[in-house]
């Protein structure tokens, strides 16, 4: 459990708190993106092995001796997809908010309550 994981969790909790308490739609989306970044931090930090470098092959890291110089590559790979997906979801949320504003003209989550019971 490195510092970064703890920081990641902290970010998740902040994002969660923001998403749950703020009424404004944008703040909710912000909360979501904070949660996403928190999770990404956790993912990356879990793959970290002390004293190793990032699993990117370039000039000074050849594939042959990479096995004992790089951190666990899989979380890093996963985090890439996760980030992309997080981005897509946030984009979609923003589109939703724009459409909702165009229809209802309000950005308060509590105004979209016709569908209930």
């Amino acid at each position: 459990m490195t510092i970064i994981t703890i920081l990641g969790f902290l970010l998740i909790i902040i994002g969660l708190w923001g998403m749950l308490t703020r009424k404004h739609l944008f703040r909710i989306i912000l909360g979501f993106s904070i949660i996403d970044t928190g999770i990404h931090l956790v993912i990356v930090s879990l793959g970290y092995i002390k004293g190793r470098t990032a699993p990117i092959f370039d000039a000074d890291l050849s594939p042959i001796d990479a096995i004992n110089r790089i951190v666990d590559p899989i979380p890093s790979a996963l985090v890439l997809t996760a980030i992309v997906i997080g981005l897509a979801v946030t984009a979609l949320m923003l589109v939703y908010v724009i459409q909702m504003h165009r229809h209802k003209g309000s950005l308060e989550i509590s105004d979209y309550e016709e569908l209930k019971w």
């Binding site: 996963l78 209930k116 019971w117």
Partner: protein, 1043 residues
């Protein structure tokens, strides 16, 4: 075989090709779009057929290398089966959305394809991170698809969905990464093989995070407000996809993770599943909006499916894998998948917001589709839901998890309540404007319905050892429905021929008591349905339900296994309910009837399940050697049959059902359907004899219930103003006598019961037919509006006169035989006070019978009935067949007594001996023939004396009466009929105030208010829903005791 990866390839390739092709015109793009969907479906079909021939499970590794670096896709039987339905559903959904896809931009097509790919991916992939990716693909394409409807509500719903979906995927991601950190790889199969590793310190939390994410996707009960909004607001085509495809994907993913779950978690998850099932159905009771109602129903079904998936793991007998559908979960899934998609498509076609505005009873296609889907969801016989529930409850009982049967029963009863209420209301509402059905929109529900019906034979494993004749009612109904083109009377004739042929077919199978019941049902059915030939106007669906009812009634006594019994019982319930629904204002009584009957059916089902649990087979004969569950099975069966017999306390459905059904159908209800409960009791006492619960001997208790039913039935009948209500209460009272005599458990007792049931069929059939004839001529059923009809309808008068003499038990006719047998049996058995009370009930019966014949036939003839003609011959002929039968029985009682006594001999030793026509018992003797002769003689003497002096008699009209030297002014004011027994009402009217109806109304009222309180947790605010999810997770976390 085609590599399943092609599914992704086709989907992705055409998804990104479409915008380019779109330049050439939308028609072409749609062509390509449907082509690719059919291709995907073809692939899955190939795979499914391969597995059909026993192919092995295929594991496909992408990127040419082994996990953890490559994604592993698995294509097994179950995957193929689920994908088959998913892709079939996708194809239908696409066809349904043709109109929408035509006018929208091309992105909708692309999104749809990605959605399908996502769901297929979810099902096939074994890599957990890959599950996350495909989950996200599906969710994102869904978010977008929900958005295309572009109105405030759907956008709001979409946004709430994204919040919930986002939270779920967040937890999933965390869970996956921790699982990876602990187990070191992402492949599910490998993780399952290293299961103990996962149970180490951190593993449980990781597993919990992953599982809870899937749980949220499965829309668990308190935290599923967002799902309801999506179902309600989204485009019907899309919500159909959500309800069927996406749900299928989610359930399958959850199914994949079950092996990982530690055993301690199973109980809690099942509980949560059951809670979702029960409470969603409960809140469904108060729903007004059609699609939201469907939303509640689909959430409930998902909850049930989740619970079943976990429960099935505990039944450790290997399911015969070859028949995929034999698996309870698979059957439930198929049933829900097709029915729910179909209903959403229908709601799209009808496009009415409020469930109350649905009215299309003039369009048979829509009615049929709606009926198929509702019946499938409620779990009525031919549909997979029925077999699934049957096997589930029997299996639960077998592995003594009886506790879980209770929520299943309550949940399915609640679901039946609101679905059938909706169905009844829709069918009965007069259709005002025509519903326009575009061709492409009707095709998907049609195909779904067809599939729902034709997959029927694949339930072969359930029907082991069941004779095919138990499907004849359905077959006959289908045949008659196909003959719709023939004129009505012709169809009626065909129906009677079918009945006769069926009778001839089952004749050899019936012996002893069963033969008596078969005679009653078949012969009685044929004679009574003659009356239904009277009118030539088309009766939509009348003959089908009638033949189904009579044949299922005839089948019940022939049932050898409890499955056969229960199947025939359900057919009877459905057909009788539909017949009541046909009545003019039959909606409310039909709902009460179906609720009570379904309650009774479920009681019987649990009883059979318990007996199956103890004995291991389904045979009815095994009821006799139960001992652990003997008492509960006994009580449950007795309760079920009491509800069917409309005993005191559960009788409130009877008057409404009998009088609102059509006039020609009521004799069948009163004369025959009520007798099936008598057969139930004979079955019960025959096999299980006398049982003692605490200090009470159960048959004695039943006897008392029978007597009170007889007494209160008669008392209520006396104060009725409507003929059909009066006769309904009268048949309830007669049935009370039969219950009393059958629970005597003595030879004489059973003889009385059988004798009474046969004679009751005759005279009750006659009375109701006569009433049908009168009402067809007069138009009203209110007795005080009639009067003096003896001059206009003499034939009906004669049959009613003979009927009331027979019912009241006045000596010369057959009724007295029944009464004599009853009292001798009661006194022989020592039930003295019951004898006294039943005598008093008999005397009261005399009151309402006289009231019936006086108010209709005697007294003053009203002016507007002066030209009324006699009832049509179709009514008179069956009545006089019954008159002949009653006269024969009264003249020669041993015609019917001897066979009955012989039949009952098999159960109880008989100590009744015969001397010529005299029946001699230890107590008394009765010579029916002599009584009839003497009565005839004694009747002739004064008649001759009067006929001698007849020439000086002057025939006069109705107003030549001594009216205190005044002339009577109007027939209406001189006919005494209204409130005929006012003094009786004053004296003991307080006994029959509406306590029991109020009780049952308050029960339903209580359920409704409970449902109202629970549905208020969905406040509609997206944020509150998110809060609900978090709380749900925390509660689940603490309850599962994850360390």
């Amino acid at each position: 075989m085609v590599n399943p990866i092609y599914i992704f390839v086709i989907a992705l390739f055409s998804a990104f090709l479409l915008p380019v092709i779109d330049k050439l015109g939308r028609k072409v793009t749609l062509g390509v779009f449907y082509l690719s969907l059919t291709a995907i479906f073809a692939v899955t079909l190939l795979w499914f057929r391969a597995f059909g021939e026993g192919a092995l499970i295929e594991n496909i590794f992408t990127a040419g290398s082994l996990p953890p670096f490559s994604i592993n896709l698995r294509m097994g039987t179950i995957e193929a089966f689920i994908m088959l339905f998913v892709n079939f559903g996708a194809l239908l959904g696409a066809i349904y959305l043709y109109g929408k896809l035509l006018e929208n931009k091309v992105y909708a097509l692309m999104l749809f394809l990605t959605l399908i790919m996502g769901v297929n991916g979810l099902i096939m992939t074994r890599d957990i991170f890959n599950i996350f990716v495909f989950l996200e693909i599906t969710s994102i394409s869904l978010y977008a698809l929900i958005g295309i409807k572009q109105d405030a509500r759907s956008l709001g719903a979409g946004f709430k969905y994204i919040i919930a979906g986002g939270l779920a995927s967040a937890f999933l991601l965390l869970g996956i990464i921790y699982v990876y950190r602990i187990t070191g790889n992402l492949n599910l199969d490998l993780i399952i093989s290293e299961n103990p590793l996962l149970l180490s310190k951190g593993g449980l939390i990781a597993l919990f995070l992953v599982v809870v994410a899937f749980l949220i996707e499965l829309k668990p009960w308190p935290a599923n407000g967002w799902a309801l909004d999506v179902y309600e607001a989204a485009e019907p085509g899309i919500s159909a996809m959500v309800a069927s495809l996406v749900a299928a994907g989610m359930v399958f993913v959850f199914y994949k993770f079950i092996p990982l779950l530690p055993h301690s978690w199973h109980g809690m998850l099942i509980l949560f599943g059951m809670l979702t099932f029960v409470f969603s159905n409960l809140t469904g009771l108060k729903q007004k909006n059609a699609r939201r109602l469907l939303g509640y129903s689909s959430i409930a079904q998902m909850g049930l499916l989740m619970a079943v998936l976990l429960l099935v793991r505990r039944f450790n007998d290997a399911m015969d894998i070859r028949y995929a559908l034999s698996d309870i979960a698979a059957a439930l899934f198929v049933n829900h998948f097709l029915a729910k998609a179909g209903l959403f498509w229908l709601s799209g076609i009808i496009n009415k917001e409020k469930a109350r505005d649905w009215s299309f009873n003039k369009q048979p296609v829509l009615v049929l589709l709606f009926a198929v889907f509702i019946f499938a969801l409620v779990g009525l016989p031919p549909f997979p839901g029925f077999w699934a529930k049957w096997t589930l409850i029997t299996k639960l009982a077998q592995y003594n998890m009886i506790g879980w049967i209770v929520p299943i029963i309550i949940g399915s009863l609640l679901e039946a309540a609101y679905l059938l209420r909706w169905f009844g209301a829709t069918i009965k509402r007069e259709q005002t404007e025509q519903v326009i059905i575009p061709r492409y929109k009707i095709l998907p529900p049609l195909l779904a319905a067809i599939v729902l019906v034709i997959i029927f034979p694949s339930f072969a494993p359930y029907m082991t050892g069941m004779k095919t004749m138990f499907f004849f009612p359905l077959l006959a109904a289908a045949v008659l429905w196909l003959l719709d083109v023939m004129p009505e009377r012709m169809r009626g004739m065909v129906m009677i021929l079918i009945l006769a042929a069926f009778g001839w077919y089952i004749y050899p199978l019936a012996k002893g008591i069963v033969l008596i019941f078969e005679f009653m049902f078949i012969a009685g059915g044929i004679v009574i349905s003659l009356a239904s030939l009277n009118s030539a106007r088309p009766k939509q669906g009348y003959w089908e339900f009638l033949v189904m009812l009579i044949m299922s009634l005839a089948l019940i006594p022939l049932a050898k296994s409890s499955m056969e019994f229960f199947l025939a019982w359900e057919f009877m319930t459905v057909s009788s309910w539909l017949l009541i629904l046909r009545g003019k204002n039959g909606e409310k009584p039909a709902l009460t009837y179906i609720m009570f009957s379904l309650g009774a059916a479920l009681l019987i089902l649990t009883a059979f399940a318990l007996s199956f649990a103890e004995t291991g087979e389904l045979g009815l004969v095994l009821l006799s050697n139960l001992n652990i569950y003997a008492i509960p099975v006994y009580i449950l069966l007795a309760l079920g049959f009491l509800v069917k017999a409309a005993a005191m306390g559960v009788h409130i459905w009877l008057p409404g059902a009998y009088s609102e059904a059509e006039d020609e159908v009521t004799p069948i209800f009163a004369g025959m359907m009520s007798k099936i409960s008598l057969w139930g009791f004979i079955l019960l006492f025959g096999y299980m004899g006398n049982k003692v619960l605490g200090i009470f001997e159960l048959p004695v208790l039943l006897g008392w219930i029978g007597v009170f039913t007889a007494f209160f039935g008669a008392l209520m009948a006396v104060f009725q103003e409507d003929i059909k209500y009066l006769l309904a209460y009268s048949s309830m009272s007669q049935l009370g006598y039969m219950i009393l005599s059958v629970s005597l458990l003595s030879h004489l007792g059973w003889t009385t019961a059988l004798y009474m049931s046969v004679t009751h069929l005759f005279f009750k059939g006659m009375l109701f037919l006569a009433v049908a004839g009168i009402v067809s001529r007069i138009g009203t059923t209110k007795m005080y509006e009639m009067g003096g009809l003896i001059k206009k309808m003499p034939a009906s008068f004669i049959s009613v006169l003979i009927a009331i003499i027979a019912v009241s038990g006045v000596p010369p006719l057959s009724g007295f035989g029944g009464k004599w047998l009853l009292y001798t049996a009661l006194i022989e058995k020592g039930w003295y006070l019951q004898a006294g009370l039943s005598f008093f009930a008999g005397a009261i019966a005399f009151l309402y019978l006289f009231r019936l014949i006086h108010t209709i036939f005697l007294g003053q003839l009203k002016a507007r009935f002066r030209e009324v003609k006699e009832a049509s011959l179709w009514y008179i002929v069956p009545q006089f067949i019954f008159v002949g039968a009653i006269m024969a029985i009264s003249m020669f009682p041993n015609l019917i007594l001897k066979p009955i006594m012989a039949a009952v001999e098999t159960q109880f030793p008989s100590h009744v001996n015969w001397d010529g026509y005299t029946v001699i018992t230890a107590l008394g003797y009765w010579n029916g023939n002599a009584v009839m002769m003497i009565t005839m003689g004694v009747f002739m003497v004064p008649l001759i004396w009067l006929l001698v002096r007849v020439n000086m008699v002057q025939k006069v009209e109705q107003f030549n009466i001594v009216y205190a030297a005044e002339r009577p002014d109007r027939p209406e004011t001189t006919h005494f009929a209204y409130n005929f027994f006012a003094h009786y009402q004053k004296a003991i009217g307080f006994l029959v105030k509406e306590q029991i109806t109020n009780f049952w109304n308050s029960v339903s009222e209580w359920f409704h208010s409970l449902s109202a309180t629970f549905r208020h947790i969905y406040t509609g605010n997206g944020q509150t829903y998110a809060l609900h999810i978090i709380i749900y997770i925390v509660v689940l976390y603490s309850l599962l005791g994850v360390k």
